[in-house]
Symmetry: C2
Subunit: 371 residues, 2 copies
């Protein structure tokens, strides 16, 4: 309805978040634009340079630590409900980036959330977790300089949740998450524990911590920043910082990939032929006819194929710029051709990744202490 123009964007970590206008997040949620910090970043990664990471909260204090070689931490994780997909790939790459920049790295297997939100029994999520950790290691996470753990087995995050319980009223919980069952509230308290775990004394105490996440996870950050403040006298917490990446468009052209819609996305464990087929069938920003496309150019802003290149499958920024400005908008490439090139890039990456990943399965089992 056109009258709903002023309706607020809703960020829901347990549901579907569709961001129609990233600019609005700055005004409505107090998220800061990332771009002004870019020139100061010692060695920005592709997602930062390309604007995939578009916003942050309080990132300056992490940047300051990076520039001064002070101690800082990076913390993020995965909900073990299936194989690595492009969203978890994004987060993993960001964690690894900050680890390589000298951050103490924490990677949480959010199996309590998988249980509470997705009803995945712990026995089943443990199987996914082994694969997920192997993916993380294959992507370059260094377990010797990081800590990978499952929520269900990490007593400290549960104990932090118990500590924090007293600091959250029902009104706060329903304002942030809506009316949910107790398990989801409990799981969000545990996530606050995850985010503040890097600041516990066993990990050398308070320090700037960056949490790179999809924008849909921001409610957890707001809750945790509030708790860090409320319990500051006991723990001396530094309020956690965050960076936000955009959500990659689904292959069917809808705003967000969803595991429930098989043709909207692919995982890193799918057969490359299947991935190729999905890309071939994908929605694009192309014109109805080749003639029109050559004459008028296509629209990368609505195109999942462009997003895939932008987020993951062009190594050089120049190639992205050239695709956007010239090949696509300039009508110099047709969508079929563009898709074939993407299929090759994706196939090369996925095959190589799967090969590496197999070598890390045993290590992953060892880290998770799985028989």
């Amino acid at each position: 309805m056109s009258t709903s123009f002023h309706s607020k964007t809703k960020l829901d970590p347990f549901g579907t978040t569709v961001i129609e206008d990233y600019e609005r997040l700055y005004a409505e949620f107090g998220i800061q634009p990332f771009k002004p910090l870019l020139p100061e970043m010692p060695d920005p990664n592709a997602a930062m340079r390309r604007g995939v990471i578009f916003g942050h909260r309080d990132f300056e204090r992490v940047l300051h630590a990076m520039k001064n070689n002070d101690e800082f931490a990076v913390m993020s994780g995965i909900k073990p409900t299936g194989e690595f997909h492009l969203g978890t790939l994004q987060t993993a790459r960001e964690v690894i980036y900050f680890q390589q920049q000298g951050g103490m790295a924490f990677y949480c297997i959010a199996d309590v959330e998988a249980y509470e939100d997705n009803r995945i029994p712990f026995e089943r999520s443990q199987k996914y977790a082994v694969g997920n950790v192997a993916d993380l290691l294959a992507l370059g996470f260094d377990p010797k300089k990081g800590y990978i753990y499952q929520q269900s087995k990490e007593q400290r995050v549960k104990d932090l949740a118990i500590t924090f319980g007293r600091g959250v009223t029902l009104a706060t919980m329903t304002a942030i998450y809506g009316e949910r069952h107790m398990g989801l509230y409990l799981s969000s308290l545990i996530q606050a524990g995850d985010i503040l775990l890097p600041q516990m004394k066993e990990f050398d105490g308070p320090k700037p911590t960056v949490v790179p996440v999809g924008i849909d996870q921001d409610p957890h950050l707001r809750l945790t920043r509030d708790l860090a403040f409320k319990f500051r006298s006991k723990y001396k917490f530094v309020p956690p910082s965050s960076t936000y990446h955009k959500l990659i468009k689904a292959l069917d052209g809808s705003p967000k990939m969803s595991k429930r819609a098989h043709m909207s996305c692919f995982t890193l464990e799918e057969k490359t032929e299947v991935i190729g087929k999905k890309i071939s069938n994908a929605f694009t920003g192309g014109r109805p006819t080749a003639e029109e496309q050559r004459r008028l150019g296509a629209n990368p802003d609505i195109c999942p194929i462009y997003d895939l290149y932008l987020f993951h499958f062009f190594e050089r920024d120049d190639d992205v710029v050239n695709l956007y400005d010239s090949e696509c908008k300039g009508g110099h490439i047709l969508c079929g051709e563009d898709k074939q090139r993407l299929i090759k890039n994706v196939t090369d990456f996925v095959k190589e990744h799967q090969r590496k990943r197999r070598r890390f399965i045993d290590k992953a089992r060892e880290i998770l202490e799985v028989e």
Copy 2:
């Protein structure tokens, strides 16, 4: 206001529960009267014989196990917010009774609840806990046939709370407990874990379990019985049973003792001179003058002195009956005289108890693994 005649009795484990009419609990909350089961009890204790234990839920299945020498458990505990008082004494005696009847006995130090509800830091509640456990042992609890634990250190009850979270809607939580902070909801999920812990496979799996508690704790039982049903397919829980004791009147004549009102109660660790003074100053059901009392008799039904004899400080039932019918109602004893006798009985008990308790402090530290 006289128009509030039909207002419902409110059972609030986190607040103040005042029961004006125990009979009404049968109709309003589905609590069963205990009296009809009394003739079947193999060896009823004083609280059962005297009607202090007035109600139950589903106790028949525990009674059946007792009569058939089948396995059963008893579970209760204490919130470590101070020294043993007459309410915790009551519960402890009931736990010990069922242990002596062959029940597997569980005694929980509810330090998470002490933290969430009373803001007692864990370091402080641990100190109280040592004393509380020494009291329990001094009263006759056999640690070799029972399990004493702190919630904060018992991972299984926290993990049960996480499991149960998904089974409780916000509507259920607010219907049972009202609008409280997250910590109280979490603590009630952990209490559900406490109550069902005796049925975990490490303790030989499902079995009838009786939870002897004050009537104000009934909401926890209702929640837990509901959860036992919801998670029956995974754990095969037997719905927990409960017995309810009346709440002893406060020394100032108000319906419930409260630690906040120092003259309303005493602990087992107070100096006997102080206890004596409190009893001397207590409200009674007596008449304004000795002459009237001798002529008309006094009223034991409103008298905390009578309650103290009834609940704890007459060993023989005959003495209780004689006090109620003849000495008090018959006007054969004056309140001052009655108080002096009570002071002697209490002093004898407390001195002996304190002597025993000192011998159990080291054992209590060992059980709680306190340095």
